[in-house]
């Protein structure tokens, strides 16, 4: 028995290492084959080149898609974070009947098949006579971003000490002043983190954009179109590598900010507890 106990952590650590390898392995091939001279992704590499990266800025369709994705991503992240702030604040601060049901409904897009969410929104938008455009994509992205925004924001708002706001009000600060000078600084990191998370999701989201866009392509839709041509693969891999880097940087910043937010509200709360 003691032998098992001693062996177990060792066995588990090697499993953990293997698991991480399994998670990262497919992702690692993107950058590797993006610098390959041959178009077919095959080992051994036939040579190293940056040509595929150099070609990217000279592809007008790609530039358009990038702009579209940026517009959609910025709008969707701002809208969903605003809606997320309202909901997260309400959930963490107030107690009222139906609170859990409403929360469940808002979080539901997280566990629904995306295709079904997408086609049902498509049906409604067509019935309402909305013409499909980047605007309808934003509407769809906001719906799927809100649950993530809520998750980040509730973790930032939880443990937020209400007495700090009350103290500020008691000391004669106006409601707006309290919000600006007490509430906002404490929750700002969580808000920025939510913006970054939602932007990243919108940037990568394919299905909803695929159904809800008109003629304008976002980056994933552009990539989807390119995937049909084997010769275009290295360009897609290069683009994918850049997107991967962007997502990684954004998420790292978001995570650091989220932790700082959680620490800040907890520490401040701790002082007064």
């Amino acid at each position: 028995m003691t032998a098992i106990r001693r062996l177990l952590p060792g066995w588990l650590s090697s499993y953990a290492a293997l698991y991480i390898l399994f998670l990262y392995l497919p992702v690692i091939f993107l950058p590797i084959f993006s610098i390959n001279t041959a178009a077919t992704p095959k080992f051994p590499l036939s040579g190293v080149t940056l040509q595929w990266y150099e070609d990217l800025p000279h592809t007008p369709a790609l530039i358009d898609a990038t702009w579209n994705s940026l517009i959609v991503g910025v709008s969707a992240s701002i809208l969903s974070t605003v809606l997320g702030i309202l909901a997260a604040r309400s959930i963490t601060r107030y107690r009222y009947p139906g609170r859990r049901t409403i929360n469940g409904l808002i979080m539901a897009p997280l566990v629904l098949p995306e295709v079904i969410v997408a086609i049902s929104m498509l049906l409604v938008m067509l019935q309402l006579g909305l013409s499909l455009s980047l605007f309808t994509v934003v509407l769809g992205h906001v719906l799927v971003c809100i649950p993530y925004s809520m998750t980040v924001l509730t973790s930032g708002f939880e443990g937020f000490d209400r007495s700090l706001e009350e103290a500020s009000a008691d000391l004669g600060e106006s409601a707006f002043g309290t919000f600006r000078r007490v509430t906002l600084p404490m929750v700002a990191p969580a808000i920025i983190s939510s913006l970054l998370v939602c932007f990243t999701i919108s940037l990568d989201e394919f299905i909803i954009a695929f159904f809800l866009t008109g003629t304008e392509a976002t980056l994933p839709i552009y990539i989807w179109g390119q995937l049909r041509f084997a010769a275009k693969l290295p360009g897609v891999l290069a683009l994918g590598t850049l997107l991967l880097l962007a997502s990684f940087v954004l998420m790292t910043v978001a995570e650091i900010l989220r932790r700082r937010a959680a620490r800040r509200t907890q520490n401040e709360g701790g002082l007064h507890a």
């Binding site: 106990r5 588990l12 650590s13 499993y15 953990a16 698991y19 991480i20 399994f22 998670l23 497919p26 992702v27 091939f29 993107l30 992704p41 095959k42 809606l83 309202l86 909901a87 604040r89 309400s90 959930i91 601060r93 107030y94 107690r95 009222y96 009947p97 409403i102 409904l105 566990v111 098949p113 995306e114 079904i116 969410v117 086609i119 049902s120 049906l123 409604v124 509407l139 906001v142 719906l143 809100i146 706001e165 009000a169 106006s174 409601a175 707006f176 309290t178 919000f179 990243t200 940037l203 990568d204 394919f206 994933p220 990539i223 995937l227 994918g240 997107l243 997502s247 990684f248 998420m251």
Partner: protein, 305 residues
């Protein structure tokens, strides 16, 4: 407009003349959440109701006949093509959720019980691959499993196989592998959270009372982490049943799933009511399957005690 609404409740709170109604916690909380709630109602609940309504109608070329009919459901459930697609989708999503949970559990256990001070670093390490584009992750599996792919060329290089195998890509196994990889993070997080809640003194107590590590794990830790296992299974099972990209990119002819058929009805085939009926059927069946999963995990949990 929404930004203004955000600032208003605190203003209301501190205003000198407050009506008792607005002061009440319930009203304030509800007022604050209502924009988000209404958004979800308009863009989620209403659309799903519209889909349900469509599923009882009929498509006549460009117009839709609004007379109530169950014909679409008859087609969805009895036509061999749709019935097979539904079964395959359910089989794939069940297999994927089982595999993901089985593979994720030891990892979550490792982080929770042996992660030490680096728990959050481990969690972050696990979430990074998830933040890379889904489309590209699926595509990298295509690169790995393809005829000229990494796995084939690797196996040939090692002399294990003589010529590339085409059995790796374009079938349901490829879909299962890809989905299992794509949803790994979603399974680890809920299991980790429930393992974190397991009272360590209970495990110690079991050990002190003579249970070996395996027995105390099976009788204490595993049953107590069942809620996490349940949410992990559901969070993987429900979305994967409707996955579109993976079957399209790596599934080939034998890996087509129900979402591809649904998309076709809203695209080329232009039969919205049938597409709607397929969607509703999928949702109902996957909910039943999810319910059955919850019940069987609970039953197993009861057995362990």
């Amino acid at each position: 407009m929404t930004v203004a609404a955000e600032g208003s409740p605190p203003l209301r709170m501190a205003g000198s003349r407050r009506s008792p109604l607005l002061q009440s916690e319930a009203v304030q909380g509800f007022a604050l959440i209502s924009p988000t709630f209404v958004y979800a109602l308009i863009l989620l609940v209403l659309p799903i109701l519209v889909v349900i309504a469509h599923s009882f109608w009929t498509q006549h070329y460009l117009t839709i006949d609004h007379t109530f009919t169950l014909e679409n459901y008859r087609i969805a459930l009895t036509e061999p093509i749709y019935r097979d697609l539904l079964w395959r989708s359910l089989y794939i999503s069940l297999t994927v959720s089982l595999l993901t949970v089985l593979l994720a559990y030891p990892m979550a256990y490792f982080i929770s019980f042996h992660g030490g001070r680096h728990k959050s670093l481990w969690l972050f390490l696990i979430t990074i691959p998830f933040w890379t584009s889904y489309l590209l992750r699926v595509m990298s599996w295509k690169v790995i499993l393809g005829y000229n792919g990494v796995l084939n060329s690797g196996l040939m290089g090692l002399g294990i196989i003589g010529e590339p195998s085409d059995a790796l890509l374009y079938n349901s196994t490829a879909v299962i592998i890809t989905l299992t990889h794509a949803w790994a993070t979603f399974a680890i997080l809920p299991i980790f959270v429930s393992l974190e809640k397991v009272d360590r003194t209970l495990v110690e107590a079991a050990t002190d009372l003579g249970d070996g590590p395996l027995r105390s794990f099976l009788r204490v830790t595993l049953p107590l982490s069942a809620p996490g296992v349940i949410s992990a299974a559901l969070i993987v099972m429900i979305p994967t049943v409707g996955d579109y990209v993976t079957p399209k990119l790596v599934g080939g002819k034998d890996g087509v799933m129900i979402a591809n058929a649904i998309q076709a009805q809203f695209g080329k085939a232009a039969n919205w009511p049938l597409g709607a009926a397929l969607s509703v059927t999928t949702m109902v069946i996957v909910s039943l399957m999810a319910g059955a999963t919850v019940l069987s995990i609970r039953a197993l949990q009861g057995l362990a005690r």
